[in-house]
């Protein structure tokens, strides 16, 4: 396997019953979010779910609220994205990470936050 096709450290997130992950290196901080904390893109919006309090993850340019998350250290194989799916979710899908519980989509926070915001605008 190509080492370029591995990723070091993941932030495994949940929104509703859906699981997805971000590369730990792309996450700047983790905080708490309440409904009264102001408008922030919510991952639940992408699944058509109502907002609930959760964790706020941010990078240098965007933020996203997920229901819960955990940090998974270690190296995880990264499966590439088929071409037909390269523009899925606003082009935020970076691939699939194979975890002990199965493959989890790896998203890019900035694109996904923008996608969710765009969905919220729609």
């Amino acid at each position: 396997m190509n080492p370029a096709h591995e990723i070091e450290g993941l932030v495994l997130c949940q929104a509703g019953g859906f699981r997805f992950a971000f590369a730990a290196a792309t996450i700047a901080s983790i905080g708490a979010w309440e409904l009264s904390s102001g408008e922030v893109p919510l991952a639940r919006t992408a699944f058509g779910l109502p907002p609930v309090p959760g964790k706020l993850i941010t990078d240098e340019r965007s933020a996203l609220v997920v229901d819960s998350l955990e940090v998974a250290a270690g190296r995880y194989p990264l499966l590439g994205v088929p071409v037909v799916l390269s523009r899925t979710a606003g082009g935020s899908l970076a691939g699939f990470v194979a975890t002990a519980d199965g493959p989890v989509p790896l998203l890019k926070l900035t694109e996904f936050s923008a996608f969710v915001s765009g969905q919220g605008a729609h």
Binding site: E8, G9, K55, L69, V71, A73
Partner: protein, 593 residues
């Protein structure tokens, strides 16, 4: 005035036969003396003078004696005294007694005068004493017959006088009251009359016969006449003497008999007429029938009987009328009373039945009252028990209220403590949450650092698990705190409700206690009242029993009374019929007013 005139001169008129009888007797005696007394020649005028003198003297004395017994009648006739009832009754008594007075006076004067004449004549010289004695004998012989004749004549006049006095102003009953009717000497009078009427002629005949015998013997002794001539002369001479003297005596006797018969017969005839009148029922004016002795008694009895009969009839008529009216009223009243008694009996029977029913009801009421009394006593006991229980309940309620209040205060305090615990747990939870975030970020940074930060990531992960464990514990604590809060809130509400309930329960218990106090008081009063009612109902029972017995007795008495009323009604009807018959009988008598 007229009364006085009616009675004027009656006192003399009534005794006039006395003087006349005396003169008739003198004539008879002189005639008899002429035949039987040997008058000494030359002394005829002297003898006549003696007779006239003594007769005049006797007549004067006799008139005076008789008039002295008629003083009241004389005064009334002269109007010297008022004709009062008493005076008239005295006059009646005088008139009734005057016949006997004249008889006794005449008889006495005849005896005395005859003796005086004989004695006086015997004193004349040459007059033998036998001639004087014979004169006295003639007076004694003629005196009773003439006295009887005078008696009978005066008696007739006396009756006339009595009638006139009665007509003056006396009622028959006043005349009857004035005259005593106790003397019953009719038999004596008849015996005396018979004796005188028989003895006088017989003694005269015997005296004449003796004198003739003496004359014949003397003539034969003297030889003056032959026995045949003497017999013829004696027969003729004796016949003349007998005819003259005997005829006069016989006339007097017959006159006496006629007067005596009239004296008895006339009143009896009037009495018979009066009796017939009374028998025919014509009453009211009893006729005065003057009479003597038993006849007068019969007359008086008849007058009294008629008067009493008139009075009785008047009373009987009034009584009959009243009895008739009263009996009719009684009959009507009896019918009403009978009807009333019948209704009363029926009503009393119903009343008696009702009373008996009342007595039974009273006994039942008394029994029920006794039961009620026992129940009232039981209720009083129960009320007293209830009162004590209510008091205990009230105290318990108060204690429960106090306990509830303590519990409520404790729960409030507990709630405050739980809230404090919650705030602490919330604070811990915030710290744990922040620790979790810090641990996440630390683990993220450790992960970003790769192999170098692996140990850091492990520590951060352990810290995070610890924080999550704390948060899980705080969530559990919060849940428990919420449950405790809910429980304490429920406990607070429950205790507040319990306090309110105990408050209302205590108030209710207070009211229950007060009510039970009232109930006890009322029960006491009720018990006393029921005792009084029981006593009263027992007394009422006794009273109604006695009333029932009394009503039974009254009913029996009323039934007897109704029977008696029926009998009385029948008796009244009979009495009414008898009253009618009595009035019819009385109406047959006519009472002249």
């Amino acid at each position: 005035m007229s009364r006085t005139n009616t009675l004027a001169g009656l006192h003399r008129w009534v005794t006039l036969p006395s003087t006349a009888g005396a003169l008739v007797g003198v004539v008879l005696a002189v005639m008899y003396a002429a035949f039987t007394v040997d008058i000494t020649p030359g002394t005829e005028w002297l003898f006549a003078g003696v007779i006239v003198a003594w007769v005049l003297l006797a007549v004067g004395f006799g008139v005076r004696a008789e008039q002295s017994r008629l003083s009241t009648l004389a005064e009334l006739g002269k109007a010297a005294s008022p004709p009062t009832v008493a005076a008239l009754q005295r006059a009646v008594r005088e008139a009734a007694r005057i016949p006997d007075v004249t008889f006794r006076t005449n008889l006495s004067l005849w005896v005395f005068t005859s003796a005086a004449i004989g004695f006086s004549y015997a004193l004349v010289p040459d007059v033998p004493w036998q001639s004087g004695a014979r004169v006295a004998f003639i007076g004694l012989l003629v005196g009773p017959l003439l006295s009887m004749l005078v008696l009978l004549m005066v008696q007739r006049r006396a009756r006339v006088v009595i009638e006139k006095i009665a007509a003056t102003g006396l009622s028959p009953q006043q005349v009857v009251a004035a005259l005593p009717k106790g003397r019953t000497q009719l038999a004596l009078r008849f015996s005396l009359f018979t004796a005188v009427a028989v003895a006088t002629p017989m003694m005269m005949v015997a005296d004449l016969a003796r004198l003739r015998a003496i004359g014949i013997v003397n003539a034969l002794d003297a030889g003056v006449v032959s026995p045949a001539e003497l017999l013829y002369a004696t027969r003729l001479g004796g016949l003349v003497q007998l005819v003259v003297v005997g005829g006069l005596v016989l006339a007097i006797v017959v006159l006496c008999a006629s007067l005596a018969g009239g004296s008895f017969g006339s009143p009896l005839k009037v009495i018979a007429d009066e009796t017939q009148r009374v028998a025919r029922g014509r009453l009211g004016k009893p006729k005065l029938v003057p009479a003597d002795d038993e006849v007068w008694a019969a007359t008086a009895a008849l007058i009294s009987m008629e008067l009493q009969l008139v009075e009785a009839l008047s009373k009987l008529r009034v009584a009959g009328s009243k009895i008739g009216t009263t009996t009719q009223e009684l009959v009507a009243s009896s019918h009403k009373h009978e009807a009333g008694a019948h209704e009363q009996t029926g009503a009393l029977a119903q009343t008696s039945a009702t009373t008996e029913e009342l007595a039974r009801s009273a006994r039942q009421i008394a029994d029920n009252a006794s039961d009620v009394s026992a129940l009232a006593q039981a209720m009083l006991d129960a009320a007293n028990g209830g009162k004590q229980s209510a008091g205990a309940f009230y105290n318990s309620i108060l204690r429960v209220r106090d306990g509830n209040q303590v519990v409520a205060d404790s729960v409030v305090k507990l709630n405050k403590r739980v809230q404090q615990v919650g705030r602490i747990v919330e604070f811990i939870d915030g710290i744990a949450d922040k620790s979790d975030l810090l641990a996440l970020n630390a683990e993220l940074e450790g992960t970003k650092a790769g192999e170098i930060g692996r140990g850091f990531s492990l520590v951060a992960a352990e810290m995070r698990r610890l924080s999550e464990s704390v948060m899980s514990s705080t969530r559990e604590i919060n849940r428990l705190i919420d449950e405790i809060r809910d429980a304490t809130n429920a406990a607070v509400m429950a205790t507040e409700a319990g306090v309110k309930a105990t408050d209302s329960g205590s108030a209710l218990a207070r009211r229950v206690t007060d009510s039970l106090d009232h109930i006890v008081e009322f029960a006491n009063r009720t018990s006393d009242a029921v005792k009084s009612i029981t006593l009263a109902t027992h007394q009422q029972q006794n009273g109604t029993d006695q009333l029932a017995q009394a009503m039974t007795a009254i009913l029996s008495s009323t039934q007897s009374g109704a029977l008696a009323t029926k009998q009385m009604s029948s008796a009244n009807a009979d009495l009414s019929a008898l009253s009618g018959e009595l009035q019819t009988t009385v109406s047959r008598f006519e009472v002249e007013s």
